[in-house]
Assembly symmetry: C3
Homo-oligomer: 275 residues x 3
Amino acid sequence: PSLESSSQAGPGAGRSLPESEHVVMTSEDSITTIMLNRPAKKNAITIQMYQDIILALKAAGKDNSAITVFTGSGDYYSSGNDLTNFVSFASGDLEKISEESANTLRNVVDTFIDFPKPLVAAVNGPAVGISVTLLGLFDTVYASDRATLHTPFTSLGQTPEGCSSYTFPKIMGPAKAAEMLIFGKKITAREACAQGLVTEVFPDRTFQREVWTRLREYAKNSPNAMRIGKQLLRSSEKEKLHAVNAEECRVGRERWLSEECAAAVQSFLSRKARL
Amino acid sequence: PSLESSSQAGPGAGRSLPESEHVVMTSEDSITTIMLNRPAKKNAITIQMYQDIILALKAAGKDNSAITVFTGSGDYYSSGNDLTNFVSFASGDLEKISEESANTLRNVVDTFIDFPKPLVAAVNGPAVGISVTLLGLFDTVYASDRATLHTPFTSLGQTPEGCSSYTFPKIMGPAKAAEMLIFGKKITAREACAQGLVTEVFPDRTFQREVWTRLREYAKNSPNAMRIGKQLLRSSEKEKLHAVNAEECRVGRERWLSEECAAAVQSFLSRKARL
Amino acid sequence: PSLESSSQAGPGAGRSLPESEHVVMTSEDSITTIMLNRPAKKNAITIQMYQDIILALKAAGKDNSAITVFTGSGDYYSSGNDLTNFVSFASGDLEKISEESANTLRNVVDTFIDFPKPLVAAVNGPAVGISVTLLGLFDTVYASDRATLHTPFTSLGQTPEGCSSYTFPKIMGPAKAAEMLIFGKKITAREACAQGLVTEVFPDRTFQREVWTRLREYAKNSPNAMRIGKQLLRSSEKEKLHAVNAEECRVGRERWLSEECAAAVQSFLSRKARL
């Protein structure tokens, strides 16, 4: 609720949301920006941040901006799901915690699917996991040439989410999508651009200037025509996307409960702790 | 009817259709060509031309040619919908005129969806608006390297048509499609080719020679196998395309009646009149 | 059955299947390989080989390997359907033979659709016809830069199969797909890679080394997560693919019985016999 009341200040306000520590929302020039702001942790997404992202998107969908931009602060766009989210799995009611986690994931992705206005990703640096898979739900994706896209699910005993099991084969073809999602191939922003997942790649040095100059120009188009046009493009697959999201969360939750996954995450976290 | 009787002369006749001023139909080497022929107006499409295109396509679908080619005369492929089509909106029964316009648009697009033979676009120069969006319904698209593709709908308060809200995200991915259709980004033929909307780009100097040499070779394949093969490729989405077309026309008509659109078109026409 | 019992030897066995003359199956490093081994005939696929491929895929789907690789022996990946398969058409109960052929084709393609694990094509050289169309059902496709992809159906009075009438337009867009499938355009591995049909192209000199190094690395990922992930990517279109396969076989069988096709195949075989 705090996010919503803040957003009513509307474009031009340019205020951050003190209530959310790691998700900052600002508005200017008819553009609302949602920024992941946890650079010391490469913008890894905690459970709290998922909730803040949902609130921020709901607020941006209702404010009087024409375009919404999602981006990251610092060197990374986002390193994805904070794997310490899994720590509680080790120490509690597994069934219950995994169900809550799956529900959170499903709600975040549903909010992206239902977002009513043009949604632009400004991928300022490397992206991992769910920050990559969600890109298939954006209307435009600009990336720095320093960005890489990496979805190492199967090395952690996990399966794809964010509707990527549906959007990635559709965008890139199954032969490119599966190498990323099933085999964990890391690709560059330029490779993703050649396959249509990324709209355009800019030199890192001029990334911010070029992206914002362009977006301010786009924001001058008719807001209603852009909003209705976006919904037209998405309308024919919205129902399908919700079904895919539900299925991915169901399958993903089963994976989280598997020994394969527990062992892989445990190994990752202990390697990290030793560093 | 005049178009149909003329087409019965069949391939080799090479005659134009004196009955249609701006849509010329010829047949040679088992290839029927439909050419927009209003070069002084950059082949902008009037209400009458939409009707002539429908008749020409229906005739080409039934004649004994193997392949049908759609192209433009002069420097442009087509500058799209002639915006003076909107002038009558200002001076009449808005409800009625917008309904008639939406019906015409829907019939044209339905005729492209149902076209029974291989349909090739020879994009000889810049293409705008509906001449771009319809490309998603062609079986092969050759373009001159002088061609650009531009769909500035939202700067005119309008929304995409020609089934592009469905075909463009499917062909290019949503991140490339939305920048064109929602933000109005103009792209080059080479960019469109990299994303699969255009089959191949030729140097403008050799465009006509290379395209026609290739098409005459292709026209030697079994006509029945080509016709049935094309229908096989399209069959699984024909119903979907008709539904998308109907929805785009419904939404588009609402936009035409909006003040946003009226103001934008008025501004465009008066800027043009001042030149 | 002999194929299945052999596969139980599992990864590391590295034994070929003496029971199948032209389809060789080996397992090593958690990877099962199915190789077309009829290099003197450019790995053209006989009726017997189709049956062997079905058995090999069923065995590989059940063995304890993590990844299955399909490849060719010698200079070609495969020259496609052995057109001498059509010779029996000339000398028997046409209705019955064409029905049996259509059933065989349908079973082979259904087996690819249902294959439960990551399936990789190592396209070691030129590919023709069904060996090309089936690539749309693979999860990853690596190709030598010496490979070309050619589907000359309509010059033989035939129509596309292997679900390519659905998968190719989806992967490459209709404008690239139809030039291949309807007009018979031969493309290079690099062109196919740019359009997403091929995942990556390697220099022929290093093709085998690079592909196998990469696959051995991928095979270390969680086998369950890879298997379940692949099924997630394919689940939403499995039913559709089976329907497309059935329709392609129905339409294709009608073509085989046409005079156009009979004449074209006869002409091809007699040209070949004169060489």
